[in-house]
């Protein structure tokens, strides 16, 4: 039996939220999926849940109106340690801009940059290892 994870999806595209939520559930890798179409809302959720949060995997889009992916990371870094240690962030983006890619790689809080479309096999391998 494959391990299951609790996911938070952050993406301004309603399409992509829908697609990836379904994909995660169908593939059996997800225990729960909580979609956010705004990074600000997701951040508020993390801060308010605090202690009650389970271990979470976040798939974070990059280009979003309002707060973008990198701005989310900046704010995330300010959260208390006991929240951050429960969270693993992967950036999920269609970007091919080298500046974005370098920035994502350089960030200590972003474990990896995954490219859209999300290949569920790739995600499984990454999460289980």
């Amino acid at each position: 039996m494959t391990a299951q994870f609790d996911f938070i999806l952050i993406d301004d595209s309603a399409f992509d939220l829908f697609i990836y939520e379904k994909l995660i559930i169908k593939s059996g890798i997800g225990n729960s999926v909580r979609p956010f179409n705004s990074a600000q809302d997701a951040l508020e959720y993390l801060a308010s849940e605090g202690e009650n949060l389970p271990e979470i995997v976040i798939l974070l889009d990059l280009q979003m109106p309002g707060m973008n992916g990198f701005e989310f990371i900046e704010q995330f870094d300010l959260l208390p340690e006991h929240i951050k240690e429960k969270i693993r962030i992967y950036m999920l983006s269609s970007t091919i801009d080298t500046r974005d890619i370098d920035k994502a790689k350089a960030s200590a809080s972003i474990i990896d940059l995954l490219s859209k479309p999300l290949e569920i096999g790739v995600l499984k391998t990454i999460l289980i290892n």
Partner: protein, 363 residues
């Protein structure tokens, strides 16, 4: 620029030289004079001069020394040295240290001075123009960079969505549910197509040659509505138009079409489904000299913070159902090109009013 606007500063310790210069040229140029190099610097701090004339032989400081001193702080004005006796080493210094443009021999000759000033001003204007061009280019490069960055995202994102849907559809054993996925693909493809059409509009607006024709607003509005009434959301909105047109108003049809298309589509797209009845009211008042257009809707409205940013390139307000952030930017550019104005007032949850004023091209 007319000659009278050529601003000249003339420094000479002999008052009567200043007087005779003024007497000869005050009708032609904007002249400031002083006998003191200290006062000259004060004048330069207060006013931008195009040309500076200085006498070489002054007590305390030579013209060359003065030029050498001010050259770094005031690099723009063109420097002309007036000198009674030209000795070669003074001339070398004037050129190398003072970087003067011309020498004028004393006693000076009217035509010679006029000639020197005309040429100096030409150089000044060319340099200023070059500087402006460079600034424009820098801005254009910056915009291009931003454009490529955002456009590549907006072109790829819908495609990646389609691939994601295909991945999902392939996992589905139930063939019946494929239609749902096909519908999603269709929406994503349409989004991409809209973006491409916007990009083409942007290009036409920015680079295309304007064709000026008499505008029939009734026809224009009908044409635009005809094209967007197939949007699924269009059914739910009631559009009323009040068009009063007297005489012939001439303008660029293409740009007006871009403006109408984007603003009506936005009102349709951002309608507030919680309201019982959605409406868009379009009011046009056209005279031969001027047209005012008002789009009023009771849609979602725009946040106060977003109001000043919505016309920026690729600025997307709000997360739900948002576009690529190029529509209103193109509208703004088109109105600018028509030398018109756009004003927006909006209350979140209540609706938005866009007011546009455009002069006739042949006003």
């Amino acid at each position: 620029m007319t000659e009278k606007q050529i601003r000249i500063l003339y420094i000479d310790d002999e008052e009567h030289n200043l007087q005779s210069f003024k007497a000869s040229f005050r009708k032609q140029y904007n002249i400031t004079t002083t006998t003191s190099v200290v006062e000259a610097e004060t004048f330069m701090e207060q006013k931008d001069f195009h040309i500076i004339l200085a006498d070489q032989k002054m007590p305390g400081m030579t013209g060359t020394q003065f030029f050498e001193k001010i050259r770094v702080r005031f690099p723009e004005p063109i420097r002309i040295l007036i000198t009674g006796h030209t000795d070669i080493s003074a001339a070398i210094d004037a050129i190398n240290k003072g970087e003067v443009f011309r020498f004028i021999d004393k006693p000076w000759d009217y035509t010679y001075v006029e000639n020197a000033i005309t040429h100096a001003f030409e150089i000044f204007s060319t340099r200023a123009e070059l500087k402006q061009r460079n600034l424009d280019l820098e801005k254009a490069y910056e915009e291009l960079d931003k454009f490529v960055y955002s456009a590549s995202h907006d072109l790829r994102a819908p495609l990646m969505s389609v691939l994601g849907i295909v991945n999902l559809a392939l996992m589905e054993e139930n063939v019946e549910s494929q239609n749902e996925y096909l519908d999603l693909i269709k929406q994503s493809v349409k989004k991409l197509d809209t973006f491409i059409i916007n990009i083409i509009d942007y290009y036409k607006n920015a680079r295309g040659v304007a064709t000026i024709t008499p505008i029939n607003f009734e026809e224009l509005v009908n044409d635009v509505t005809e094209a967007i009434k197939y949007l699924p959301e269009f059914e739910n909105i009631e559009m009323t138009t009040d068009i009063k047109q007297t005489g012939v108003f001439e303008s660029d049809m293409m740009k007006l079409r871009i403006i109408f298309n984007n603003l009506i589509t936005n009102a349709v797209k951002f309608q507030d489904t919680k309201k019982e009845k959605s409406f868009i009211k379009l009011t046009i008042l056209a005279t031969p000299a001027h047209t005012s257009i008002t789009f009023e809707d009771n849609g979602l409205g725009i946040k106060k913070d977003d109001l000043e940013k919505i016309f920026k390139m690729f600025y997307r307000a709000g997360a739900t159902n948002s576009g690529s952030g190029i529509g209103l930017y193109i509208v703004h550019e088109a109105i600018n090109k028509l030398e018109g104005e756009i004003k927006v007032t909006s209350t979140l949850g209540e609706g938005s009013i866009f007011e546009i004023n455009i002069p006739s091209v042949n006003k």
